[in-house]
Subunit: 243 residues, 2 copies
Amino acid sequence: MLEKNENSHIFIKKLKIVSSLSDSEIKAINSLQTFVKKIDKDIDIVSFKENPSSCCLILDGWVGRYRILVDGKRQFLSFHTVGDIPDLHGLHVSPLDYSICTLTPVIVAFISHDQLRELINNFKGISTAFWRYTIADSAALRAWMVNMGHRTACKALAHLFCEIFIKIAIVEHKEDKNFRLPITQIEMADALGISPVHVNRVINELRENDLITLKSRFIKIKNWEKLANFCNFDPSYLHGNFI
Amino acid sequence: MLEKNENSHIFIKKLKIVSSLSDSEIKAINSLQTFVKKIDKDIDIVSFKENPSSCCLILDGWVGRYRILVDGKRQFLSFHTVGDIPDLHGLHVSPLDYSICTLTPVIVAFISHDQLRELINNFKGISTAFWRYTIADSAALRAWMVNMGHRTACKALAHLFCEIFIKIAIVEHKEDKNFRLPITQIEMADALGISPVHVNRVINELRENDLITLKSRFIKIKNWEKLANFCNFDPSYLHGNFI
DNA sequence: CGTTGACTTGATAAAGCTCAAATTTGGTGG
DNA sequence: CCACCAAATTTGAGCTTTATCAAGTCAACG
């Protein structure tokens, strides 16, 4: 499906969080040609060591950046949903240092590097916005690092739940702390660097502390304040403090 | 010491790794005015939650990005040495999401945001180079994350030693795997998210496996191939695969 | 209604933490 | 140069967290 893009408003919304764009810049982004594709769960859309010629804008669903270690273990580096272009780096780096796989069925709009490079060359504001987007991304990486490095498994998992909730809330404009988790316990384990069995036990701990209920992938955050406080969740890294 | 900068060639060298610069761009960078300062060990040069109006270019010594958690623990996010501007983010984000402290005595050149913004606005190549610099930085963060998340303490520490060696080798053009570690065991612990006592035991393990000798902060990598292989060190994240 | 993948629980082992007490090292003043 | 101090390193013992292996149960879906 090659189409004149009606979807880029999602991306524009994301860019506007980090930067300001002129009308002509918005128009330019809106006139991008994209190749929209539905993709199943558990498919790689970007592969480590390949040289892609387009970036992927997520229109629906969830994807994860990851790397596979020599011993076969998988480390997730970040999760992304609607409005994200997780491989924007590809405009400058090839091959990338990570792969991206789908965590749920997704709808993705592929945008050619050529078009994006033209935007960057012609619109300073877009170039700056992309740079800032990269900066926001790196702040999120740092937040994950802190989460993995120096927190107990229980707090780290709580933090991950908080992050996922906020990301859903941003996209769906919901206040309701009741949502479907896009990831399995195995994927949580690979995000936090702990074993799947331990993830399960730690979920029990969160249940016992009356912080969440979780059944059939449906999580309910029973007490947001208490949960966020428990894991010292500070959502500012998800919008950033851009000047 | 406010001085017409003779030091920016160090930074230019770093930028050239990730991007190309025109003669006029190089000239513009060379004419930056910097405020050069000698600073002792264990001093914060950038503080979390402050709003700095300049960036710091490291001319000598080592610094570390870090964050303090509510329980008082410190998590190092990256280490930097000659030629790095670890707080380049500050051009777009305020306050920053991390602090930067000196790990050794350092010499730092402070460059005002105003000057840097002028460069960005007037020279597209510089703007792109800075963006790419940010991208290289985020790849290094991902490498650390993988290191912390899914490797044993022993391999993680070996990886850190490899990284530090390569960074020294780049600056000093040395082949000799014999160098002074810029960080204490406590700092290693805070980088890897393990306890100082365990760092010490893990160093012993590396010694017993005949991979290194280490005494009075002087480390000798006895068998580079073996060490790099042991921890699956791939130095490409330190130069990147820029197009 | 059977199969498959995800989740759950138990038992045991390994990795890493904490506390505490040496010992070594690097610097500093006399 | 020596004595001394503070910081860093080293070692031991016991404990906590997390991993691993194994054997379930549950739930979705054709």
